[in-house]
Symmetry: C2
Subunit: 176 residues, 2 copies
Amino acid sequence: MQAMDIEKVNSMDFGEFVDVFGNVIERCPLIAAAVWSQRPFSNLEDLEKHFFDFIDALPQSGREGILRCHPDLAGRELQQGTLSAESRREQSGAGLTSLDADERLRLAELNAQYRARFGFPFVLAARRSHRAAVPRELARRLRCPPAQELRTALAEVKKIGHLRLADLLGAPPARL
Amino acid sequence: MQAMDIEKVNSMDFGEFVDVFGNVIERCPLIAAAVWSQRPFSNLEDLEKHFFDFIDALPQSGREGILRCHPDLAGRELQQGTLSAESRREQSGAGLTSLDADERLRLAELNAQYRARFGFPFVLAARRSHRAAVPRELARRLRCPPAQELRTALAEVKKIGHLRLADLLGAPPARL
């Protein structure tokens, strides 16, 4: 995907917009499709703000629902080759596609504990992490209170969305 | 997919639930993933009510967003073989997979006019229709006021969802 400017974004019909931005929030094309209603956008920050405002306005079940559309890190979908292109690239960037059997098993156990405790999968902006840090961070977050962890996980969703939008618009990502 | 009873549904973890019910609302697994928060469900009607309540509570942009996740009838995705399994079955049931070139062209023109007028695609519970009725109904709805048409289109989304849920739970669909 070639980088584009905001005029190009504002000229898109909804079909094109959903094709391009449908996975800014993992497996939630509904959100991009809703954001199209808010065009024109003045710049990347403005476009991003509409994605995040939509998320924040959802009831708690909807915000949990967004998390439940995410794959486990180094999980079944990576093994089966059914990750989204963006997620595959991000997990690969963090070295999660080349774990040895022990590392994979350890992460699978932690992922299962996390899912059982919180009712959603562990979400992390993997591109900003690396294979050794992921299980440490997972183990740490596993001990957080549920309400705090929901906030943390949604902040990670937004970091992922920020990086994906910056990729699409060819902008250097802001500090997170 | 074998039919299942409500106890089976209530025993699902969120991964299984989203696998099974993720396309009750076309390409909006977020909605099934949110509905899982409301378990246990007392029966099919109760489960369905949670899907519909979630839709109704969305802001207008979100309700339009749901529509924008739907494919055109007899459109590009049918030609390219990228329809969801449910949508392919429904369009096929209405005879839309075997249109001749003139019928396809006529429908493509009407679909384009509809998208340009309303900012979302024409959505119809195709399984309850047939190939001759579809362009007539499209031409009729093309003349409706936008606010009324949004309500009509969302009522079709719910009919589709009702039929898909009834399939999954092995229940005879209620009169619509």
